[in-house]
């Protein structure tokens, strides 16, 4: 086996094929991990001493919040690369990630709200963590709508890349908001710098759910990017040949 030519996969035509081969693997992994993760979340992880069963929201809330921040950073990176090197595929990857990021941001906000009412006593408060997460959701929505508003893909890529890059400043604000300011939202239970302040099985359940969300994101983003590739390259020879074959 020779050296893999990575540049080959920067071309939409060959990435289309590669993505098609990768999707089933990631999709299967995601389903398996979701089953294990949900089983641990509902049946293995113990009841919390203070919150009782209501704490189980974290098994979806925390992975969703993590993913919404992480996807935004990846989206911004793809946008930056696309802007600097004029690569077509990176812009397509960025726009294929946006709806999933928005979905996770919305899930984090909704589940948090449902937990907040019984635990805090309020559906919503304007503290730094909640507000910055809401801004993240709006950034995703802004990115998607701007992309849809401009017909010429080259121009819409450049315009939305700007939103992605400017908005990326918000991500560290979300992450550190609970440290920098007095917030109602509690601090991080799991961080890079200290041991988790959670029971072991709870951490395990959360991490497996996060991995499942990650695999889901990759599978869905690849699926979506294939459609974007076909749509944008519809006038090219290889796409018309592919369409002939399908007929």
């Amino acid at each position: 086996m020779g050296k893999i030519n990575w540049y080959k996969y920067a071309s939409p035509a060959s990435f289309y094929g590669l993505a098609g081969k990768l999707i089933p693997g990631f999709a299967t992994l995601s389903v398996v991990l979701f089953i294990i993760g949900l089983y641990i979340s509902f049946f293995v992880a113990p009841t919390d001493a203070q919150q009782g069963e209501a704490y189980r929201i974290i098994f979806i809330h925390v992975p969703a919040a993590w993913m919404s921040m992480f996807i935004y950073v990846v989206m911004a990176a793809y946008s930056g690369i696309g802007l600097a090197f004029n690569t077509r595929l990176s812009a397509m990857m960025a726009s294929s990630l946006a709806p999933t990021g928005a979905l996770f941001a919305a899930i984090a906000l909704f589940t948090g709200s449902f937990w907040g009412k019984p635990m805090w006593g309020a559906w919503w408060v304007w503290d730094a963590r909640l507000t910055s997460q809401l801004i993240l959701f709006f950034l995703y929505v802004g990115y998607i709508s701007l992309q849809a508003a401009i017909d010429d893909p080259r121009r819409s890529d450049r315009a939305s890349a700007l939103i992605a890059l400017v908005g990326v400043v918000n991500v560290p604000i979300i992450y550190f908001s609970v440290k920098w300011w007095n917030t109602l939202h509690q601090g991080a239970s799991i961080s890079f710098t200290k041991a988790p302040t959670m029971a072991y099985t709870m951490v395990a359940g959360m991490l497996i759910m996060a991995a499942a969300c990650w695999m889901y994101t990759i599978a869905v983003a690849l699926y979506r990017v294939r459609i974007i590739i076909l749509e944008r390259e519809r006038h090219s020879v290889w796409v018309s040949e592919l369409m002939e074959k399908i007929k």
Partner: protein, 146 residues
């Protein structure tokens, strides 16, 4: 430098510059971004006493008293340095407990009482099964006895 590298450098400096600007703005608005004030800050007159604001801290152990109407409660919020008396009429959230975090929104009365219109429980980042919590309590109690 190739033009595309120049472009990349421009983008990176742009984002970094923007981050610095945002950091400076955030720093300038620091006090406005605070969700609640501690009793120490209220006593030091850092809180906007003339309008509604929030205080936060721990509910002092043994300070919770209910009036006969069953709705009005009195408790003391402490940040372990200073205390503040709080009066509230309404339903307390599930997580409201003595020794736990709380955030109360309201106004300071002329007598120095904090009259709350809303009480929120502030949860900490510790998640553990009840058995572990009981063990932790027991080991803490035995330590204080020694």
């Amino acid at each position: 430098m190739k033009p595309r590298h120049k472009k990349l450098a421009f983008i990176i400096t742009g984002v970094a510059g923007l981050a610095v600007i945002v950091a400076l703005i955030m720093n300038a608005f620091r006090s406005n971004l605070v969700f609640f004030f501690t009793p120490t800050q209220v006593i030091a007159k850092e809180a906007p006493v003339d309008r509604t604001f929030r205080i936060g801290g721990l509910v002092e152990k043994g300070s919770l008293k209910r009036e006969n109407d069953g709705l009005t409660v009195h408790f003391v919020v402490t940040d372990l340095k200073h205390d503040m008396n709080v009066t509230y009429k309404g339903i307390l959230p599930d997580l409201f407990k003595e020794g736990k975090g709380v955030v109360a929104e309201g106004k300071l009365s002329p007598e120095g009482q904090f009259v709350a219109s809303q009480v929120l429980a502030k949860h900490d980042e510790n998640y553990m099964p009840p058995e572990v919590a009981a063990e932790l309590k027991a080991s803490k109690a035995s330590k204080t006895k020694l």
